[in-house]
Symmetry: C2
């Protein structure tokens, strides 16, 4: 393994000079710089990460905590993770992958050991047990998701409240008066995941404002669960003409069931989904949807974290504005029978 000292010797300069060439923290004459750079190339030198971390107390690593459970939004999380990793690289950082398994201990471990310079937490719950620790350890961090109390925290998330409102608006504008919401699995609501509740909140308050009736039913993914849920909805509110779906794995079952029951989309039933674009465009009916901007969230999270690490910028809550794309699954409400 090639060391700084060897490069220095090869280039006929001192070790510190090589270090300054690398970091650019002091001015170096261009002849010396070139000589050093040449030696680096010829010897195939790579700075030793551990030594660097020790001397500078910076690891150039960002920790990313992803939830352990994979019961929802897996592709979204993957996309976020990839966006985080690639964005981090453009800023000179690598990404350490932590699963939720360790729980709050992971925060302690990473902060205490100097393994990472900062961390990004995904799937933050309304009252997340990692937050007190995070506040205590002045470890720079960014959350993807929105907890109940954001004091002293930086958060990035889709504005799910506005998302809910947007869905209702779109349907109301088309004349729908009875709207049903097919939500995430009950477990998601029970664990008080912020986004699910905020969406619901947005849906409900906008519905109230617009004088639209709204029915919300959680739903496990899959065909069987969907069949039960749909039957119950149509039983309770036979005039339902608009559906808002916030559950990736319920989308296709829903469309299949509607088709099977002879309800045409969008003629008899309009469907608006809250899901990644990929799901919306690959469904058997191209879905009118509000996209989950996964890449954007990952990118923003990294950029805010890097800003913090460089001493720029402070706490902030960034809510990305939702965008509704009209596709083939929504249209005017059928005239009342």
């Amino acid at each position: 393994m090639v060391t700084l000292a060897e490069v220095a010797q090869h280039a006929g300069v001192s070790a510190s000079t090589v270090s300054y060439v690398l970091s650019g923290k002091r001015s170096i004459s261009s002849t010396t710089r070139q000589r050093v750079e040449r030696s680096i190339r010829e010897l195939g030198y790579h700075p030793n990460a551990g030594a660097r971390a020790l001397a500078s107390s910076k690891s150039n690593i960002i920790a990313l905590m992803i939830p352990l459970r994979t019961d929802m939004y897996v592709p979204v999380m993957m996309e976020i993770a990839i966006a985080v990793a690639t964005t981090a690289r453009t800023h000179g950082y690598d990404v350490l992958l932590l699963t939720g398994e360790e729980g709050p201990d992971a925060v302690r471990r990473v902060a205490g050991s100097g393994l990472a310079d900062g961390m990004i937490l995904m799937d933050v719950e309304l009252d997340d047990e990692r937050l007190p620790l995070l506040r205590a350890t002045d470890q720079p961090s960014v959350l993807i998701g929105l907890p109940a109390d954001t004091a002293g925290l930086t958060c990035v998330d889709l504005d799910f409240r506005a998302t809910g409102a947007l869905c209702v608006e779109h349907l109301a504008k088309q004349g729908h008066h009875d709207i049903a919401v097919i939500g995430e699995a009950p477990a998601v609501y029970e664990r008080h995941t912020g986004f699910a509740e905020r969406t619901l909140d947005g849906l409900r308050s906008r519905a109230r404002e617009l004088g639209v009736r709204l029915l919300h039913r959680p739903c496990e993914g899959g065909y069987d669960a969907m069949a039960v849920t749909l039957a119950r909805i149509l039983d309770e509110r036979p005039d339902t003409s608009g559906l808002v779906v916030q559950n990736e794995s319920a989308v296709e079952p829903l469309l299949a069931l509607l088709r099977q029951q002879g309800r045409a989309v969008p003629e008899d039933m309009s469907v608006v989904a809250i899901c990644p674009d990929q799901v919306a465009t690959q469904a058997s009916v191209r879905l009118t949807s509000v996209a989950i901007p996964a890449q954007e969230m990952g990118r923003r999270a990294v950029e805010h974290l890097v800003a913090k690490l460089e001493g720029r910028g402070g706490d902030e809550v960034v809510l990305l504005a939702p965008e509704l794309t009209v596709r083939a699954s929504s249209g005017p409400a059928p005239s009342r029978s």
Copy 2:
């Protein structure tokens, strides 16, 4: 930040003693050990990762290279990644997430900088450009996937050849004589991803042995592409009574189309899928399938890598035996009209 020296002082011993308590590399009297452990707890000491890495030239980090493209098997990759991360933790390792973006350079960078002790590469292609580098830098590594030349490499993968064979066998046993394979997107074959070709190989050779006709058609995911592909298959081979699907995002469109065309599954058409169990059980027809053992692959990869890092075990190719689970989508072939 608490240091080893502070712990030592607090416990009234030398720094080296604390180090030996931590590593267990020399015997320590139980009284001393307890005193030290108490100090560690009271001070909330965490060893500094950088210093440790520098002194021991071991980072206790495993690098995981995931492909950048997310055009296929996203949930599988996520599951593997999570399995890798959790398994690694049980062995005292953390996981560094590298995307394919950097390409072969990432291998050089990680190996050169001592950032990670070893690496796991996912989505290995038949003639992967990272392999020569890997062989050159004696960086311990494990591949998930099977390249053309496995000399000097450790690989973990599902035995896709056997998987293909198993699917054909199952259908043949039920009397099907005309089988069509709905494969991955053309791009997957073009980039010579090993698993797709090996599956096809297994399908074809077993079909030949059993005297079954086999038609293979790649297929993009999504409803529209599936419609075209299915139409073409039934046009070319109207007697097709068995389908093997190896493309997650084609599964549900396929079932929807069959339903729409009045072809009952499994009475008129048997379907066998190669996909994660979750997809198979959540589909609108519970699918007979060969599962992709994602967790198992991630776990095994880590365990082999750890074994290498500890000097145990050498190069080896581990092919996991496929298991076919019979569900509702396959049955006897319809009697010839």
